[in-house]
């Protein structure tokens, strides 16, 4: 429980996130959770929803902060609140809920559209990827992930999946990849016509 005592400045939080410092992450997570929880529970949300949105919000911050060109143009608190607010609004809208927002009067809002746009665009790509991977099924999905994400060699994959040799595995991977590309890039065109955001 060495988390609590240290006080970080906004810059130190960002720096720590970039470094992947776990203590900083914990301290940051602790610092603004109540703020977001309060906002979401106040606006038609459950605690689970708040937890989800807050974690998403941390991911937005993390990914944007990882970009060396990122600089915080407002207080971190304002940033977190603004992102959480937009994410939650989006969810409410998606669920077809129009709702009277109860804002936290103490809080300023910052323009986080750009940061959010980047995140959401990627998230929509990932949503498409997940669907494509579902379509792809097993063992293809695991095979593809093992090769491209976990960077296993063809020999390792061949042993893991019980193929007779690496060439055989390579051949399987090729077929899986071709199918995945078809699902992934075909669905893109359908998606783009249907989704207009925020």
């Amino acid at each position: 429980m060495s988390v609590s005592k240290v006080q970080y400045s906004d810059e130190e939080f960002i720096e720590g996130l970039r470094r992947g410092d776990n203590d900083v992450l914990k301290a940051l997570y602790k610092k603004y959770y109540q703020l977001v929880l309060k906002f979401i529970v106040n606006n038609n949300g459950t605690q689970e929803a708040a937890e989800d949105v807050y974690q998403e919000c941390m991911i937005v911050l993390f990914e944007n902060a990882s970009d060396p060109g990122f600089s915080l143009h407002c207080q971190l608190q304002t940033y977190v609140y603004s992102v959480a607010r937009r994410l939650w609004l989006k969810q409410l809208k998606k669920a077809g809920k129009t709702f009277l927002m109860k804002e936290d009067e103490e809080m300023d809002l910052a323009d986080v559209s750009e940061d959010l746009q980047v995140y959401l665009q990627k998230e929509s790509d990932l949503e498409r990827l997940r669907l494509s991977m579902d379509q792809l099924g097993e063992p293809c999905g695991t095979l593809i992930r093992d090769f491209y994400v976990h960077k296993l060699s063809m020999d390792q994959i061949s042993a893991k999946f019980g193929y007779t040799n690496a060439d055989n595995a390579k051949n399987q991977k090729y077929k899986c990849l071709q199918r995945l590309k078809r699902y992934f890039f075909e669905s893109r065109h359908i998606e783009q016509t249907s989704e207009k955001r925020l």
Partner: protein
């Protein structure tokens, strides 16, 4: 070699130098190849990003568990937003008119150098901030909401108490509760949530008079008490009904002073422990006359409440209410003291239907 294999080797730096040059040359000349390569890269980037988001998400989840524990579930207060569907229009209309009113008020107040929030900085007003209470009362709320199968509404921004003024659908509450509301609803065990609007306010004594919109709500009202025009006496026993939580709560005590905070003669001091949510509730004497309206308590002092004097309210209705309303408002429902001589539980049974939980919604 398959195209994608070349891509992979190139990206991993596994392609021999000569092939690398050749491949790069091909990319420049062959748009189809270049496009296939871009797609290939995009797909891999997505796979990697998905993995890293998933990893981060899991890490955050474990941080959450570590910081806040596993069993911190709070029950959802509303599943469906049936409230907005059913009352959306009402709110929108109420909101737009109220917004203008609020803006006007704010303008008036700020030009006078008089800030709404600072109005009663010595006295803690007892409107119930729903949010704050929700955490502490979660157990209770859970118990209640599980049993009821009624429509579940969005939590109000503020809640408090109110009581019927007469049989004509007029209801008294505290101005500090409803002054900046966009929509106001009343409810209790007998009366289903109904919309009410502000028809008269006297800020100087923190008085607000509401009227229920739907006249059928008040159709069968037989308000068993009246506002007492004579001042109360120190030491007489008094009681109140109000909504510091979802169910009506009884409190009793004595009239302890004929003035309120720092000698304010429009108030009484009473020794009833009052809580957030009691604001706007009636204070009744032993005979069941309304002698006041709960306004607030002193910060830090328990079991000390303040109530606006009923005679002040009558005075205000007489002097300040618009002529068109005056007669309606001053109709006292029961000249005969129907509650006199009844035992307390019996009195409460009769009064209970006319004490309401006020739910206030604000647009920010």
């Amino acid at each position: 070699m398959k195209e994608s294999e070349v891509f992979d080797l190139y990206l991993n730096g596994g392609l021999p130098a000569e092939d690398t040059r050749q491949f790069e040359q091909n990319l420049k000349n062959d748009a189809v190849l270049a496009r296939a390569f871009e797609e290939h890269k995009a797909l891999i980037a997505s796979l990697e990003l998905e993995n890293s988001r998933l990893g981060l998400k899991n890490k955050l989840k474990s941080v959450h568990r570590e910081l806040f524990g596993e069993n911190t579930r709070i029950l959802s207060i509303q599943k469906e937003n049936s409230f907005a569907r059913r009352h959306g229009k009402t709110i929108a209309v109420a909101a737009s008119t109220a917004l203008i009113a609020v803006l006007a008020t704010v303008a008036a107040l700020s030009t006078g150098g008089y800030l709404l929030k600072k109005q009663n900085n010595e006295i803690l007003e007892l409107k119930r901030n729903v949010m704050e209470l929700k955490y502490s009362n979660e157990g209770i709320v859970e118990g209640i909401t599980m049993k009821k199968s009624k429509p579940v509404y969005a939590p109000a921004n503020l809640e408090g108490s109110a009581f019927a003024l007469n049989n004509k659908g007029y209801v008294i509450t505290s101005y500090h509760m409803v002054g900046s509301a966009d929509s106001i609803f009343l409810q209790n065990e007998e009366t289903e949530r109904c919309h009410a609007r502000l028809v008269f306010a006297d800020q100087t004594i923190d008085l607000a008079v509401l009227k229920v919109d739907n006249s059928s709500v008040a159709k069968n009202w037989q308000v068993p008490y009246a506002l007492k025009s004579k001042p109360g006496e120190i030491g007489e026993s008094v009681f109140t009904l109000g909504f510091p939580r979802e169910d009506v709560v009884y409190g009793e005590g004595a009239l302890s002073a004929l003035s309120g905070f720092s000698g304010d003669t429009s108030m009484y001091q009473i020794s009833i422990p009052v809580n957030p949510g009691n604001s706007g509730g009636p204070v009744l004497d032993e005979q069941g006359n309304v002698i006041g309206v709960i306004k607030g308590k002193i910060t830090g002092a328990e079991a000390t409440g303040f109530a606006i004097r009923a005679n002040q309210i009558l005075q205000s209705l007489k002097n300040s209410a618009p002529d068109s309303l005056k007669t309606e408002l001053l109709v006292q429902s029961n000249k005969k003291p129907v509650l006199r001589g009844l035992k307390r539980p019996e009195q409460i049974k009769r009064i209970h239907p006319y004490v309401f939980n006020v739910l206030v919604y604000k647009l920010d």
